[in-house]
């Protein structure tokens, strides 16, 4: 990593020019605008400009009853739509004190983990594509297609699932889904060797990712970074383990972390998490309890007055819903804690001193989804 020369302001505006990376650029994972101030090819200052895909989810929440807000969470972080959907249901259930049957909890865990695998495929392979290797991206897409078919089998849609309902899930999982997931797990395990050797061991890939974009533990704490980006810097924090919710306490899985905190570490953490998610799905499928998939819930819930905060582990970090309710059927205020929002802001601290090519790598390794930031 280059140690940036201390450029005093006088020379700074002669040699330095501004380059807009985005909002329309091949490797910005959505409509993200990074305003770079470059000196030659070395980045002096970076300022992410957001707001291009702001649709006012939090304002919408104040005009809709709790049920009508169900489709919105999946549109915030569209890559982990299922996780956000279950998260919102969990928040309302905690507010109203609804008890979710065990089978519904297991189905929620299975679908969330499948969604996490699909999202990590995008995160890692999009990172590899940012470095110029296009083939792994399409292999990742091929594996992700199986997951989308599986989730379409039960929830009916491929990306924006409205599968969760207050008190459980909309419909039960079918036998076809059960066998399909088993087959998918074996197929995926055989593919890990390919990804491992094509990307992880590849010398060009390692040279492009080692010691690039190092996030230290203190930076992570100060900037509120969570998720695989934080676990790449050596902090073992995963909401599923630290603040167990739904049925996660009943499964045995570890939290992969790396010490270096550079792009390679984050990539390896995400790939290791794939295996952990597959283990969780397997355990969940083995002991899937019988019983109803949805608790007895009134058609339109009216939670008591008060507020509550629920956090859950989305594919990008510790997301959360802070709901303030005033006793009517319409929430008074819903604040969504988007992990990408804080993960993105770390860029301004770690990017100066890198090359232009590294910016694309670091931005890819942090793996943000833009609608989640703009909400």
């Amino acid at each position: 990593m280059l140690n940036i020369k201390t450029i005093d302001d006088a020379t700074i505006n002669q040699r330095v020019y501004q380059l807009n990376l985005g909002p329309q650029h091949p490797s910005t994972h959505g409509v993200m605008h990074l305003l770079l101030t470059l000196d030659g090819e070395v980045v002096v200052k970076i300022e992410p400009i957001i707001g291009y895909s702001h649709r006012g989810h939090e304002k919408m929440a104040e005009n809709r009853i709790y049920e009508q807000y169900l489709p919105n969470p999946a549109r915030m972080d569209y890559l982990s739509g299922m996780i956000f959907n279950h998260g919102y249901c969990m928040a309302v259930e905690k507010l109203c004190g609804i008890e979710v049957p065990r089978r519904a909890e297991y189905i929620r865990v299975i679908t969330s983990e499948l969604n996490r695998i699909a999202s990590h495929f995008i995160g890692t392979m999009d990172y590899a594509m940012g470095l110029g290797a296009i083939t792994p991206f399409l292999w990742g897409w091929d594996d992700r297609e199986n997951i989308l078919d599986l989730l379409e089998m039960i929830s009916g849609s491929r990306l924006t699932y409205s599968y969760g309902r207050f008190g459980g899930v909309r419909n039960d999982i079918t036998k076809e889904f059960y066998d399909g997931t088993r087959k998918f797990i074996d197929r995926l395990r055989s593919r890990f060797w390919d990804y491992e050797n094509l990307i992880n061991q590849n010398v060009i890939f390692i040279k492009r990712s080692k010691e690039v974009g190092v996030i230290s533990k203190e930076d992570a704490l100060a900037f509120g970074v969570t998720g695989p980006t934080l676990r790449g810097s050596g902090v073992k924090y995963d909401v599923r383990k630290n603040e167990p919710y739904s049925a996660y306490p009943e499964f045995k899985f570890e939290i992969p972390t790396r010490k270096e905190g550079d792009c390679l570490a984050r990539y390896q953490v995400r790939m290791a998490e794939l295996e952990q998610s597959v283990n969780i799905i397997e355990q969940a499928l083995d002991h899937l309890p019988p019983g109803p998939v949805r608790a007895k819930v009134p058609r339109f819930v009216t939670p008591p007055e008060g507020d509550c905060y629920v956090t859950f582990e989305s594919a990008r970090g510790a997301a959360g819903f802070y709901i303030v309710s005033d006793g009517t059927r319409v929430p008074y205020r819903i604040k969504v804690r988007a992990p990408s929002f804080s993960n993105l802001f770390v860029l301004t601290k770690i990017c100066p001193g890198h090359f232009l090519a590294d910016i694309v790598a670091i931005f890819g390794s942090i793996d943000v989804t833009v609608p989640e930031i703009d909400r």
Partner: protein, 332 residues
């Protein structure tokens, strides 16, 4: 030695048989065949890329998408050649032409087979390398003239890259010239009747292959038009026919690079049963497949690593190889 040098040709055709005319006829043949060759190459690249990525590649136009590239060429011809404002008009307009012209000239000294060779220029080796370095100026002109920060960065990168890889390119081929002490490609190819030079000079072959991939901005060294960083580098602002000229030049340079590798290391036209030219083209196309194969496997190298790799690895090894060959030749 080629057809036109047979003694009786001159007195039969008189002026028609003279060297100038044969050169002209040769150039005409190149001008006709090379674009077709490039069209086939682009299709093969898209098919190889497709099958590596578990998809069939273009299938729509013609049986199995064979006419896809021709239709693309017609589309590009039809597309309007947009010239963005504030561009440096003369440079912007000249750059695609200058990038294609040297690419065609590179075909003259290539020894396709003992009889089929346009002109066995006695400095064929130098002619190809000097003309191929003209391409860099046009990339710089194109990048600078299109008034776009991304293309400027791409152009500046391409100059540094080509300069850095010209040296190992030449150094890796000097041992061949020392072994055959001639610059005529025909004779170099002829000298490999016994054992191909790749067995004498394996290291030189690897260095030459890496250097030519970098020279033509291909595979892991395609920093000049790195899609995911510089949108598409120096030819971001080019549309229509100008864009396809850049494409044409890139693929022609690739063909020349592969052809050079076969003449220097894989024994030009020598092959067990088939006629010379068939072997020559078989080897060249296999090499082109390897180059395409590499493109869809590796990520892109960062710019400073590119420079380190050239100056700190390729050049020292090439020099050592040259030194050893010199000693061995002296001793034998």
């Amino acid at each position: 030695m080629n057809i036109t040098q047979l003694p009786y040709i001159k007195d039969i055709y008189g002026f028609l048989g003279s060297d100038v005319m044969s050169g002209l006829v040769g150039l005409l043949i190149i001008a006709a065949l090379v674009p077709l060759n490039v069209a086939a190459l682009v299709l093969v690249e898209r098919k190889v890329a497709g099958h590596i990525q578990l998809r069939p590649g273009p299938m729509e136009v013609g049986p199995h998408g064979i006419l896809q590239t021709l239709i693309d060429a017609v589309k590009l011809l039809g597309k309007e050649m947009v010239t963005p404002g504030l561009t440096d008009k003369p440079l912007y307009w000249l750059s695609p032409i200058i990038v294609v012209a040297p690419a065609f000239v590179g075909f003259i000294p290539l020894p396709f087979s003992p009889l089929v060779q346009i002109k066995d220029v006695n400095v064929g080796f130098l002619l190809i390398f000097s003309f191929s370095s003209i391409g860099v100026i046009s990339i710089l002109m194109g990048g600078w003239a299109s008034n776009n920060k991304y293309s400027l960065i791409g152009a500046v990168r391409s100059v540094a890259q080509n300069v850095a890889y010209e040296i190992p390119l030449l150094l890796s081929v000097m041992p061949i010239v020392m072994m055959t002490n001639t610059f005529k490609l025909g004779e170099i190819a002829q000298a490999q009747s016994g054992l191909w030079f790749i067995f004498y000079q394996p290291i030189a072959a690897i260095i030459f292959f890496i250097a030519t991939t970098a020279e033509t901005n291909r595979a892991p060294f395609d920093l000049v038009e790195g899609e995911s960083e510089l949108v598409s580098g120096f030819h971001t602002e080019y549309t229509g026919m100008r864009f396809s000229l850049f494409f044409l030049a890139e693929y022609t340079n690739m063909v020349i690079a592969a052809a050079l590798f076969t003449t220097f290391f894989l024994g030009g036209w020598y092959g067990p049963v088939l006629p010379g030219a068939v072997w020559f083209f078989a080897k060249t196309y296999f090499l082109l497949f390897v180059v395409m194969w590499m493109r869809w496997t590796y990520p892109r190298i960062r710019f400073d690593q590119l420079m380190n790799f050239a100056w700190k690895v390729l050049i020292p090894i090439a020099l050592v190889n040259l030194f050893i060959t010199a000693i061995v030749l002296k001793v034998l």
